[in-house]
């Protein structure tokens, strides 16, 4: 039955091939093929999950080797898969949420003439993402890694006729490539050190490696994770990626692809466990990003970009947790799964709002929508409560445990991380309440569209609301279900290991403080956005607000540090190539040409002068011969 594992990937891949090569004939039915492919993959995932449940803990991980992919000397890369407790969690998340979002897209993209292609790309994404989490070695993981990058590129730029979408897609791909450099070099380093880059072999050999080598590998993997998961300093692409259709933002840029970095770090736990310096870098990146994203999320008026800031921040939590080592891996993944539910739900809700509001994204033009979009309001509201960590909902369980784990790191480090996480929790509550209030409560601030008509908000069709409802249910229940008997922790422990650490604060204290922080965040937000009317035109704001609206100047910094020197260098090199190198080449030929035209003057065309030179030459020759002979 292990042959199901390749089929898991093959189903969406076949769907993608069919939809992208099938041509116009599939325009009318293509989206259902896409949904079917995703659903089949989900069904396979469920079957594999229950099989795995049925096996004893020690035999839960299975390997399948398809064929030898690249084989040169000692370099052996196989097309081989590994399905263990960690992979199956991802498989279910990807195919499950993926299927829901496929269904949602049927409604959302109903009027797009290129809907067939959209579903083809979505299927392609599923296949690549599954490959990423199922690969049994880093090189195959890399294929999936760039595969999801390609799918993300295609989907962000799906509306290619918009210059902004095409630019955002290119930016996402190139920033991700910077991260990929890290992954490439990490693989090379593993090969140089261990002669292999298969998970099992690298992890087995890791203890022999020097601490410096492991730290280097860890930092390179972190670079890769930063690119894919939009962590500081490679965070700049995620906000722009919201140019893509909203289902894409929900699936790729919230629930699954951007969490691949967390997967990579958790998967490589054997390396990070032995490289505390690399782990320190990971927690720093996580902590910085969680605040960075939260601050950006507070200032954005574009509902999708505010949610994107939130995604960045929540992934910061996960990276932070993963950087804590065995204390945090499990909670990183748990938060990843619950986040997958509630953030996908929030994005789909945002899509539903946009659907009803003529694709308006500016929250300042929303207001009072709860009566018009009751289902969206309810599902979005549940997602909201989940993300701010309202007691009993899923975010409460997962985020709370991360904050506890941060304190459990111990020492000054633990205090700093724990307090950062608490501040993050408060800010999360603030910006999410802000989104909630600006969108669903308060006065109507609707603006006429291009044709001068006011929007007529209406609830989305059932094909769209159904996935939202399912995800909302997941957002409510998942966390609770996972914590019954520590089910989730026990499930993952064989792969990631787990230790409790020793927190200076008791679990109850941390929970209490977290709830206080959350309430404070809600309260402040209510004071600002609930009690008084939201201005339609954004106020000037403080310097920090203005910077946060510009994503804390990330693009300005990148421009100043990279783009402008880069284009100057390119221009200089183009000049150098034409004038310098080619100048030398042309100079040599011009010199020879010039000399020749001087010498050419000797050839004056008069027969007698030619004859004279011949005569002179002969004389010289004869004279030389005679002289030589006499010597």
């Amino acid at each position: 039955m292990n042959s199901l594992i390749p089929l898991l990937i093959a189903a969406p891949l076949a769907g993608a091939a069919l939809l992208l090569l099938g041509g116009r004939r599939l325009d009318r039915s293509g989206h259902w093929i896409g949904v079917l492919a995703a659903a089949v993959s989900f069904a396979f995932g469920l079957v594999l999950f229950f099989q795995m449940l049925g096996r004893p803990v020690s035999q839960r991980a299975v390997d399948v080797k398809l064929f030898s992919w690249i084989s040169v000397g000692g370099f052996q890369a196989n097309a081989a898969f590994q399905l263990d407790q960690l992979s199956i969690v991802f498989v279910l998340l990807i195919t499950g949420v993926g299927s829901l979002i496929h269904v949602y897209s049927v409604g959302y993209m109903a009027h797009d003439e290129r809907r067939r292609r959209f579903f083809g790309y979505l299927n392609l994404f599923l296949a690549a993402m599954l490959l990423l989490v199922l690969a049994d070695n880093y090189l195959l993981l890399y294929v999936g890694w760039e595969g999801v990058g390609l799918a993300s590129y295609l989907l962000i730029g799906f509306w290619q006729h918009k210059v902004s979408a095409a630019t955002a897609a290119k930016k996402a791909f190139i920033v991700n490539r910077v991260g990929d450099v890290g992954l490439s070099i990490a693989i090379m380093l593993m090969f140089t050190q261990f002669g292999s880059f298969t998970f099992s072999q690298v992890f087995a050999a890791a203890p022999q490696e020097s601490r410096g080598g492991l730290t280097a590998i860890g930092l390179l993997l972190l670079l890769a994770a930063c690119g894919k998961s939009a962590q500081v300093p490679l965070q700049s692409w995620l906000g722009d990626a919201m140019e893509g259709p909203t289902p894409v933002s929900a699936l790729i840029h919230a629930a699954t692809m951007v969490t691949a970095g967390v997967y990579l770090i958790t998967r490589s736990n054997a390396i990070f466990d032995l490289a505390p310096d690399a782990r320190l870098a990971v927690v720093c990146v996580g902590a910085v990003t969680l605040l960075y994203g939260a601050i950006v999320g507070c200032a954005k008026d574009d509902i999708k970009k505010a949610l994107a800031g939130s995604t960045m921040s929540q992934i910061g939590y996960m990276v932070l947790a993963a950087g804590l080592g065995p204390i945090g891996y499990v909670f990183a993944i748990m938060h990843l799964v619950t986040h997958g539910f509630f953030k996908a739900g929030l994005f789909l809700g945002a899509g539903s709002v946009m659907h009803g509001m003529n694709d308006e994204v500016n929250m300042r033009y929303y207001g009072g929508l709860r009566k018009h979009l009751p289902i969206t309001f309810a599902t979005f509201g549940l997602g909201y409560l989940a993300i701010i960590g309202f007691p009993g909902l899923s975010g409460y369980f997962s985020k709370d445990r991360i904050i506890e784990a941060a304190f459990a790191e111990g020492g000054t480090e633990g205090w700093i991380l724990g307090l950062t996480a608490l501040v993050g929790a408060a800010v999360t509550a603030f910006y999410m309440t802000r989104i909630m209030l600006m969108t669903f409560f308060g006065e109507r601030r609707w603006q006429p569209d291009g044709k001068g008509e006011l929007p007529h908000p209406h609830e989305a069709p059932r094909v769209m609301t159904l996935p939202m409802i399912v995800l909302a249910v997941g957002s409510v229940l998942a966390g609770g279900l996972f914590t019954i008997n520590d089910a989730f922790v026990n499930w993952l422990t064989p792969v990631t290991g787990h230790s409790e650490g020793n927190s200076p604060l008791s679990s109850g204290t941390v929970t209490l403080i977290t709830i206080v922080c959350m309430v404070a965040g809600i309260g402040v937000s209510y004071l600002v956005y609930g009690r008084s009317a939201v201005p339609v035109n954004p106020p000037v704001g403080s310097a920090l607000t203005r910077a946060a609206r510009r994503d804390l100047l990330q693009d300005d910094i990148n421009h100043a540090l990279l783009v402008r020197p880069g284009s100057a260098l390119t221009a200089a090199l183009v000049y150098f190539d034409v004038k310098g190198l080619d100048g030398v080449v042309n100079g040599v030929s011009a010199t020879i040409g010039g000399l020749s035209s001087r010498v050419r003057r000797v050839q004056n065309g008069y027969v007698r002068s030619y004859a004279l030179s011949m005569f002179g030459g002969t004389l010289v020759l004869v004279a030389t011969t005679l002289l030589m002979r006499s010597v």
Binding site: W69, G73, A80, G147, L150, H161, F173, I185, G195, S196
Partner: protein, 546 residues
Amino acid sequence: MSFLLTATCAVPAVGAVVTAALPAGTTEARRRTSRATALGFSVAALVLAAVIAARFSPDGPRYQLTESYSWIRAFGISFSFGVDGIGAVLVLLTAVLVPLVMLASWHDAAPDSGDSVAGTPAPDGSFENNRRTQGFFALILAVEAMVLVSFLATDLFLFYVFFEAMLIPLYFLIGGFGDRAGGPEQARQRSYAAVKFLLYNLLGGLVMLAAVIGFYVIARDQNQGTFDLQALTRAIADGKLVIDSSAEKALFLGFFFAFAVKAPLWPLHTWLPNAMGESTAGTAVLITAVVDKVGTFAMLRYCLGLFPNASKFFAPGILVLAVIGILYGALLAVGQKDIKRLIAYASISHFGFIIMGIFAMTSQGQSGATLYMVNHGISTALLMLLAGFLISRRGSRLIADFGGVQKVAPVLAGTFLIGGLATLSLPGLAPFVSEFLVLVGTFTRYPALGIIATLGIVLAALYVLVLYQRTMTGPVKASVSGMPDLKARELLVAAPLIALTIALGVYPKPLTDLVNPAVADTLVQVHRTDPAPVHPVAATPGGVTK
């Protein structure tokens, strides 16, 4: 003794003569006959190349299907042919690409496109115009024949003769046939490009000739007066032929200079952007995907095989040049305004990778470099031919003249994107396998160079995606609004290349199986072994398998 290798080289040669001798004329029927004839011969060569690959057994001796006919006995020169794994894959590449290039250039040599070097269109019924189609296709076949001889020759002199002789048909292809959008200025540019190409490569070739003669003289003094490659390498390995160190270095440089010009290695690359920019897309593919490969192929076979010690001595320096070339070519590609020149600079970057792989002297590096030659041939052919289709529709090579093509010609845009993704070595496509092998192979011996070269993958993404974005996306420009999508013939060109790119990316084993033994033999010649892992892991299930 079989005649397979001779036949493979002879078929396109005969084809060239036959095509050139077909009745002249500008009527469509006449031109169709000549195109079909040429295509037929190139397909026949493809069949023979496939037979070579099928009959080659990777476990056998390095050179197989050998043939030898005496030529100039006094100097030990003979028509010797033999194929090794590296030669076999390159012969296949050549044989696959030439028919596709012909198909893609179907209308590129039409009489009305005739703007002569002098800048004035040749008059109707003139010799030049009448023979244009025949000439174009005959020249392509001539190039193919000479390239095949270069890949299959196992005689140094024979190799040299054809290495040089292929410049002649190429000179005429570059100088005589260009973009339809003519004009005296462009004709002048083209004539400049052709002369530059010829002189640059001729210079390299003459330096090599001197080295060839010098090498022969040294060998003859030690009673090894032959040009037979196998005999020479054997004599070097057995210590019967000992070249003193400084002479070996000088001879190595003589050979290497010629190959580095042809490859082209930075800073000897400046002829390539001109030649590729001014010629037709088909000719550009022929230059970069096929002919330039002779240069890198010869580095691997002749420089390393005949001068192992000098190769090792110069390897670090050459690697530095190669890494500079990788980044330099990529940066210049980013700065180009002309689609074809952009692809040319991208190729310079890729040739840096190939040369780096060869001189890293590890099995991954060299196998990767050989695969890179094949994969670069396929991916560049795809990108360049599609760029040619795009350019012929708009009559301009400037990136700025395009925009929004994706909306009006989605298939063209989609295939172009695949070509671009192959060029930036997306994992899952063929070039990734080779690029990664080259990088790994370099990294194991020269970590710093490996890391710097890896930065090239970011730049590759940059130039490919910027090109795609500016030409294909955004609002539809008025000038491209009526642009037709790919025609059946053009799709027939792109489809096999795309299929190969994907197939060889997922399952490169058929190629690696052919190449690995030859590379292992080359490493033995230069007395190099792969660096061993620092902490090797014990073989476990799912791990090292042969």
